[in-house]
């Protein structure tokens, strides 16, 4: 019986007579009373007598953990140069102690944490190497993606159309409501804030220029890419990562299927198709939001808004935003798949890589947007 509804507290005392030291134990020596039992053992004062007898006859209940404590006591007394006997055991308890005798945990040493400057340097080095390996892994996936795309071009049958469609449905159609809502709000906020300051100069109407250019060129695509990184990128990492944890990826390899062809290509392709569509939806929704706020807050009627918008933006403005979308999608998809394939056996690593996938994707999306800005500025668009 290990657990009892009512426990008798454990007890112990040392009696010395005629050169024999007797340690009398009583009460419950079970897992529930174990910390009390350990405290009693540390509080006992042992004499120097050579002969020691541990009297376990008074123990009401004992289990493996209690027996271990008694066993440990015996060990430490013997180590101190005494001869120790355990008495008062019935058959069952004897066999329990015999079992314990055969299985001995190693000597306990408290854990020590080492801190040194070398440890810090080592970690930094490892992180740098990690970044380098990450870049290599991305190039690796990109290269094999190129190979697969080339195969698909020559053998269109190898393209998994249904898989692409399913992924497109998940990452595009499913994302439309949230992307539209978010962009609507952003468009409205940009117009309201812009209007608030421009009104002081009597330049209310320029809100339309501000919102139109800002949304179409930058905000629409960036926010959509960030939303997609959080929504689909994390899903890709988690899917591929859990497939790795359950050896499904290994099964694919063994069957002779290419992971890039079966898992990576459909996802990245679907994402590259989805992001321009979502960006367009986002553009429309934010212009709509901007128009509504202009009408309600700045008294610009829809007709005037549209007329001004027509003057402010051109097809080029829209295309500058849309052309970035597939590249953003490629980055989000690549990072998601690379991180997913890096997942090791534990749930902890799945969580870490999913987080890393989203963080890296969002960071790189912004970096790439900056590169595009430099590029467009230098070619004069």
């Amino acid at each position: 019986m290990a657990f009892l509804e009512k426990n008798t507290p454990p007890g112990g005392k040392v009696v010395t007579d005629e050169g024999v030291q007797r340690i009398e134990l009583s009460g419950d020596w079970a897992i529930n009373t174990l910390s009390a039992a350990e405290a009693i053992l540390t509080s006992l004062q042992f004499s120097k007598e050579k002969l020691t007898c541990i009297d376990a006859g008074g123990i009401d209940n004992i289990d493996t953990s209690g027996a271990w404590l008694v066993h440990r006591l015996r060990g430490s007394l013997e180590f101190g140069g005494r001869r120790v006997e355990i008495s008062g055991l019935d058959e069952k308890r004897k066999s329990l102690f015999n079992e314990l005798d055969q299985h001995h945990p190693p000597r306990w040493t408290p854990e020590k944490r080492k801190f040194s400057i070398f440890g810090f340097l080592e970690n930094t080095g490892r992180q740098m190497e990690g970044i380098w390996l990450d870049a290599l892994a991305m190039l690796h996936i990109l290269g094999s993606l190129g190979m697969v795309i080339a195969t698909v071009v020559f053998q269109p049958k190898r393209l998994r159309g249904i898989s692409v469609a399913v992924q497109f449905d998940k990452s595009c159609i499913g994302a439309v409501p949230i992307v539209a809502l978010m962009s609507f709000l952003i468009g409205a906020i940009v117009s309201q804030q812009g209007g608030f300051y421009l009104r002081q100069f009597g330049a209310d109407l320029y809100v339309v220029d501000l919102a139109g250019i800002l949304v179409l060129r930058e905000i629409g695509v960036i926010l959509t890419a960030i939303m997609v990184a959080g929504r689909s990128g994390s899903a890709f990492t988690a899917e591929i990562g859990s497939m790795r944890m359950r050896e499904e990826i290994d099964a694919l390899h063994v069957i002779g299927l290419s992971v890039t062809e079966v898992l990576v290509l459909p996802r990245i392709l679907a994402l590259m198709l989805a992001l321009p569509v979502l960006t367009f939806v986002s553009d429309l929704a934010s212009l709509f939001g901007s128009g509504l706020v202009s009408w309600a807050y700045l008294d610009i009627p829809p007709a005037a808004f549209l007329a001004r918008l027509h003057e402010a933006i051109t097809m080029e403005t829209l295309m500058v935003g849309l052309v970035k979308a597939p590249f953003m999608a490629l980055i989000v998809g690549l990072i998601a798949c690379v991180e997913g394939l890096k997942v090791a056996g534990s749930s902890d690593s799945l969580g870490r890589h999913t987080t890393m996938s989203v963080v890296k994707a969002i960071f790189l999306v912004i970096v790439v947007d900056g590169l595009f800005a430099i590029f467009f500025a230098s070619i004069g668009i």
């Binding site: 290990a2 897992i31 493996t64 190693p106």
Partner: protein
Amino acid sequence: MSEQFAEDQKVHGVPSIEHDGDILLSARGVTVGFGPKIILQDLDLDVRKGEILGFVGGSGTGKSVLMRAILGLTPKRTGTIKVFGYDLAKASEQERKTVERRWGVLFQQGALFSSLTVKQNIQVPMREHLNLSPRLMDELAGLKLELVGLPQDAADKFPSELSGGMVKRASLARALALDPDLVFLDEPTSGLDPIGAAAFDKLIANLSETLGLTVYMVTHDLDSLHSICDRIAVLGEKRVLVIGTIDEMMKNEHPWVMSYFRGERALRRF
């Protein structure tokens, strides 16, 4: 034929008397189903204190479902299940906690926490329910590891670095962490080599003998059924078909029981 089975059930069957103190787990009229499919219907079962009960049944007959229903993981439609005299469906938080401290579970896939090392896994129940010194917890974890036959260097490994058999053992060590009164083992010896399986059987029999451990063991291992099980329950036709000792099983006339215990594979043992 069916009267014959009904007869069997009466002879070695489920005792219908309301339990005395010697019955640790009792299930009465348990029905479990998913959607329109009924898995278990009106199932009665008693597990006596200190016995090793082996549970057999064809694949998909609901052995694991019954175990999960007893543990409260799968909801049951009707019936009562009492563990240590507590009906878990009606138990208070405190009572449930008491019961959870007294049982240990070995899941079929091990279910070790993958982000913790083996040692930390074994210490999880200790940390949760008890207030022990770090030294004592480390020593107890080491002792349990030894007891289930794992090498000490496994203590600091993560579950993903262990072989299938080692995962089983580590998981048993975790199930035994609090020295439970009742352990549920879901196919403990599957995936172990015959020597390891025999050692496992011996360990369980030993613990049962020295500590009065009650074991509820779902297994297909005919060797464990023969060597350590005090009683065997056969699950089939959505209920406990028969329950009794191995000798009674060998004499049973039900076709499934016959083909299980006296089939080609079973007889090859002799």
